[in-house]
């Protein structure tokens, strides 16, 4: 029995591109259509060989599985081909410039991958006796030391699994600190309009009320409005620095002082730390907590949407409240893992555990490898080149695209443009989709919300000048077509594996899993 009762039929190719001939397979040379595993696999095929022998089970109670699960199997060659074909339908940093603002799509060095796969890191269990994993705890401690030193902070919580998890960690530290002070009544968290959506979502999860802080016309936090709102009900301010408009919040120290004077804490969203690593330490600007996306600043791969890793650096005021478990080096050089057992003595104010184990070890090894490769001097150069590249894009295109904050001074690691000046009926999405045809991943679209039709371009430091020049040329060309009302942009992309996809249909009638077609349909 195969799972694919209906038989897989490739979608009929359309005769576009000036009447290029249809093909029998639906493929177009290297552009290969690939069915789902459930359409080509079956319940009997396996790509794994197992030893022969009796596997009679006797201790499963009366719960032995009787019905098929419905999992499609492929042989090894078919499996390799399936996923290789799928991979070729993806854009990736390895293929070209990926200027997705706020996401820091930089080159992922393969040395990091090799180090993470050393059996001494990849093949150890989180619950092994700590004596047997001293090297792994050493990696965590060494990375922690770098993160603390680079940020000028007091401590770091390593276990958060991603940036948003790190935000939650920081906010829970703040909550715990307030409760310890007997000020659990502080319920308001102030969040600028330009913040990532995770900021308000995190604060709300922790039971805080979120209030927006407006931005000034030059793209920064309205310091006057923020200071006016401070008071005995304000728990914290969450600020992204550099902010999502690509600008450094030059008043951050003043804001921090005011927030502290009013009894609150400063949370800094560190998603954009790449722009300032080695140039300025957030601790010197009064920050109490900041998550660091290891998958952004420290080049651990994004992997098509994770895994991330979001260690949180903490001020002296917040460090006592950080989560379990954490590593502590004892005087004899032996590294101890502080868990619930010893927390009472070593870490009594912890807010608790956020995840089952020690965090994203596989990301720690990659990030530490990257940090050691760059060193203190190289990381500083990272920030400088990232900022240089973004300003180069900004100044090269401000004559063509509206750059709302061009007059606000230099940008940091990302340049922001708007859709102002495009022809009537044309918007950011049309520019973005046309960039796909030019062989680039588009910039971040429609974020931050404070800019109409925002196009947020973050080239990163790992792009050469030649790559930037080609991108600038392509974006200028597309922008000029959009200003001239070139209708072909509305149907872009024309050369991608798929044309624009119907997202409304997907949301209105969600199809989230593959289902066998009814046999009656299959017979047609």
């Amino acid at each position: 029995m195969t799972i694919n009762q209906s038989g897989w039929k490739p979608t009929s190719p359309t005769a576009k591109d000036g009447g290029a001939p249809a093909t029998f397979t639906g493929n177009r040379a290297l552009m290969l259509e690939e069915p789902l595993i459930f359409e080509i696999g079956d319940l009997h095929t396996t790509g794994v060989d197992f030893p022969d022998g009796d596997v009679a089970g006797s201790r499963l109670g009366d719960l032995t599985r009787k019905d098929p699960i419905g999992l499609a199997g492929l042989s090894e060659p078919e499996t390799v081909r399936h996923y290789t074909r799928l991979s070729r339908q993806n854009y990736a940093i390895d293929l070209g410039l990926f200027p997705l603002g706020s996401c820091t799509m930089k080159h992922n060095p393969r040395l990091n991958e090799r180090m993470a796969r050393l059996p001494g890191f990849a093949d150890i269990h989180p619950l092994q006796p700590v004596d047997t994993v001293q090297g792994a705890l050493g990696v965590i401690n060494e990375l922690a030391h770098w993160l603390i030193t680079l940020t000028g902070m007091h401590g770091v919580a390593m276990s958060p699994k991603a940036g948003a998890h790190g935000e939650l960690c920081g906010i829970l530290c703040i909550k715990a600190a307030l409760e310890k002070r007997g000020e659990g009544h502080r319920k308001v968290v102030l969040v600028p309009e330009s913040a990532h959506g995770t900021n308000p979502a995190t604060a709300a999860f922790a039971g805080f009320t979120v209030e927006d802080i407006p931005a000034t016309p030059d793209g920064r936090v309205d310091t006057v409005a923020l200071e006016a709102r401070l008071g005995p009900d304000v728990a914290a301010v969450m600020i992204t620095n550099p902010n999502t408009c690509g600008l450094f919040e030059r008043d951050l120290k003043r804001i921090s002082d005011a927030v502290h004077a009013a009894g609150g804490y400063v949370y800094c969203d560190g998603a954009n730390f790449n722009a300032i690593v080695g140039k300025v330490r957030p601790g010197d600007l009064g920050v109490d907590a900041m998550h660091i996306n290891l998958h952004k600043t420290f080049s651990t791969p994004h992997g098509g949407g994770g895994p991330g890793s979001g260690p949180v650096v903490l001020s002296e005021a917040l460090s006592p409240f950080g989560p379990l478990p954490f590593t502590a080096r004892h005087v004899n050089g032996h590294i101890q893992l502080v868990e619930e057992e010893t927390a009472g003595d070593d870490h009594p104010d912890t807010f608790g555990r956020m995840t089952a184990f020690q965090g994203q070890m596989g990301m720690f090894t990659r990030a530490l490898t990257y940090i050691l490769s760059h060193g203190a001097d190289g990381l500083r150069q990272v920030a400088e080149d990232a900022v240089l590249n973004a300003n180069y894009v900004l100044r090269s295109l401000e004559d063509t695209l509206d750059a709302p904050f061009a007059a606000s001074g230099p940008c940091m690691h990302e340049a922001i443009f708007s859709d102002a000046g495009l022809a009537e009926g044309f918007s950011t999405i049309d520019v973005a989709k046309a960039l796909i045809d030019e062989g680039f991943h588009p910039m971040t679209m429609y974020f931050p919300l404070v800019v109409h039709g925002a196009m947020l371009v973050e080239p990163t430091e790992t792009e050469s000048k030649a790559a930037l020049d080609q991108f600038i040329g392509a974006l200028r060309s597309v922008a000029e077509r959009a200003k001239a009302g070139d209708q072909s942009l509305k149907t872009a992309p024309h050369f991608a594996p798929r044309a624009r996809l119907d997202e409304t249909l997907a949301a209105r009638k969600p199809v989230l899993v593959w289902k066998e077609k009814p046999l009656a349909v299959a017979a047609e």
């Binding site: 596997v55 201790r59 996923y83 699994k161 935000e167 098509g304 500083r380 119907d502 989230l512």
Partner: protein, 452 residues
């Protein structure tokens, strides 16, 4: 520096284009007092591949590698053999170095993979639908508790004593802030699970019951009566699976009418990695999908009518809903989900069932052998590939002693439940297909010597 393509000539010409005299002119908004004048003191400078490799290798050698010794640890992370092609495929740059598929026209590879993953997970867990993955099993578990609160509009969750204590710990942390009341209890070193006690505890205020299957001691119980009892009170049953390979051998929680099923997917494709990154599995009945956190991939068509996939139902998510989102979650565990999915495709139905059969058979052999060790009592009547033994003396120092002898014997309950005397003698032993007869004999012999 090998990762930075700009030459000093490039930098000069770019600064000229920008109209800046020097690089620090671009950092003028950083207050001068805070601007660092050079590399931070006390940190090393850049290093070659070779020297970094030496440093990392030295650290790696300070760890006792699971694959080099008889190895029996489980309790939420299992050592399975991962076929070579899995790691090869996930290292293809088009998967490894892609972002979240926000531009679906050039991300169909990731999207189709996620759709296949969701289908595999839903079928394995026995649910109608599944999301595109969570951080790990423990975070998926507390997200499920939050989901049950939103669905039932009730705030009391009953956690089985058989739920992994770290999962309980995570839920307790989060409950402090969400206001959920959690009822928790400790397991006992007996063959009986707490299903009957859970049934008795359900009332009209209960949002959900959270039960692990197989549980932390490895025991397996039919969840059907528990599901019925939950539904009689309009509460939800959340089942937690930390060892998905088990579901090749035993009925899925969904088949037993669990409403939400979460799991740790690390067993397939991902490896041990000292605790992370892992991949959280999460599935539920169709009627609850709009309350589910995390990303979904859905099928649709493109402008030419071709089938394609997109991220969907994002109106639940933080980037749209901000403070009203179902969760603050942003990242999923994409690459680990890919590893899981490739491994599952290689196995297929037949391979998974064979794999689970081998695991169970090998665990049965180990239990039989260990039962013959004087001083050892096998606690479980039922188990899949993990069971608990009672050593009649404190297990934790014995685990340390055995580690010194080069046997990683299992997870002592003293490690998981520090200070709980009633559990201190318990040792949880996991036996997967990677464990050989010689390994079992080595463990049994070492225990015989230590317990004598």
């Amino acid at each position: 520096m090998r990762y930075l393509p700009l030459t000093s000539h490039d930098r000069e010409s770019m600064l000229a284009t920008i109209g800046a005299a020097k690089i620090d002119d671009l950092f003028v908004d950083v207050p001068e007092a805070a601007r660092l004048g050079g590399p931070i003191d006390g940190l090393p400078m850049h290093a070659s591949e070779l020297s970094v490799e030496r440093h990392m290798t030295k650290l790696a050698r300070q760890n006792l590698v699971a694959g080099e010794v008889p190895f029996f640890l489980g309790c939420g992370a299992y050592r399975h053999h991962v076929p070579a092609s899995v790691d090869h495929l996930i290292q293809r740059g088009e998967f490894l170095t892609a972002y979240t598929p926000y531009q679906p026209e050039i991300a169909q590879g990731t999207l189709q993979m996620l759709f296949e993953f969701q289908t595999q997970v839903a079928r394995l867990l026995g649910t109608d639908a599944a999301n595109a993955s969570m951080y790990d099993g423990s975070t998926a578990c507390w997200e499920a508790i939050g989901m049950a609160r939103r669905i039932t509009k009730r705030g009391k969750a009953i956690l089985s004593s058989g739920l992994h204590p770290h999962y309980v710990s995570v839920a307790k942390t989060m409950a402090k802030y969400t206001g959920d009341a959690l009822e928790t209890s400790l397991p006992t070193l007996s063959a009986e699970t707490d299903i009957e006690a859970l049934i008795a505890a359900i009332d009209g205020d209960t949002s959900c019951v959270v039960v692990q299957y197989p549980d932390i001691l490895g025991r397996i119980a039919d969840l059907t009566p528990l599901a019925d009892a939950c539904h009689a009170q309009k509460a939800l049953l959340i089942a937690v699976v930390t060892e998905p390979v088990a579901l090749g051998a035993i009925r899925s929680p969904g088949e037993m009418d669990a409403d939400i099923v979460v799991g740790e997917g690390q067993s397939l494709g991902v490896g041990l990695q000292f605790g992370g990154p892992y991949v959280g599995l999460m599935g539920c009945k169709d009627k609850y999908i709009r309350q589910m956190p995390g990303r979904f991939c859905g099928e649709t068509v493109d402008a030419d009518g071709k089938r394609g996939f997109v991220l969907t139902l994002s109106t639940r998510e933080q980037h749209i809903r901000r403070e009203k989102a179902t969760s603050n979650i942003c990242t999923n565990s994409g690459l680990c989900a890919l590893a899981f999915s490739i491994h599952m495709t290689l196995l297929g139905e037949a391979g998974l069932r064979r794999l689970s059969g081998i695991n169970h058979a090998q665990a049965c052999r180990a239990a039989e052998r260990l039962a013959k060790v004087p001083g050892v009592r096998v606690v479980n009547d039922t188990f899949f590939n993990e069971f608990t033994i009672d050593l009649r003396k404190e297990a934790r120092p014995i685990v340390r002693t055995l580690a010194d002898r080069g046997v990683l014997a299992g997870v002592s309950l003293g490690r998981l439940y520090p200070g709980e005397e009633s559990l201190a003698n318990g040792l949880v032993v996991a036996v997967t297909e990677t464990v050989t007869q010689e390994d079992i004999e080595a463990l049994a012999t070492a225990l015989e010597e230590v317990l004598a």
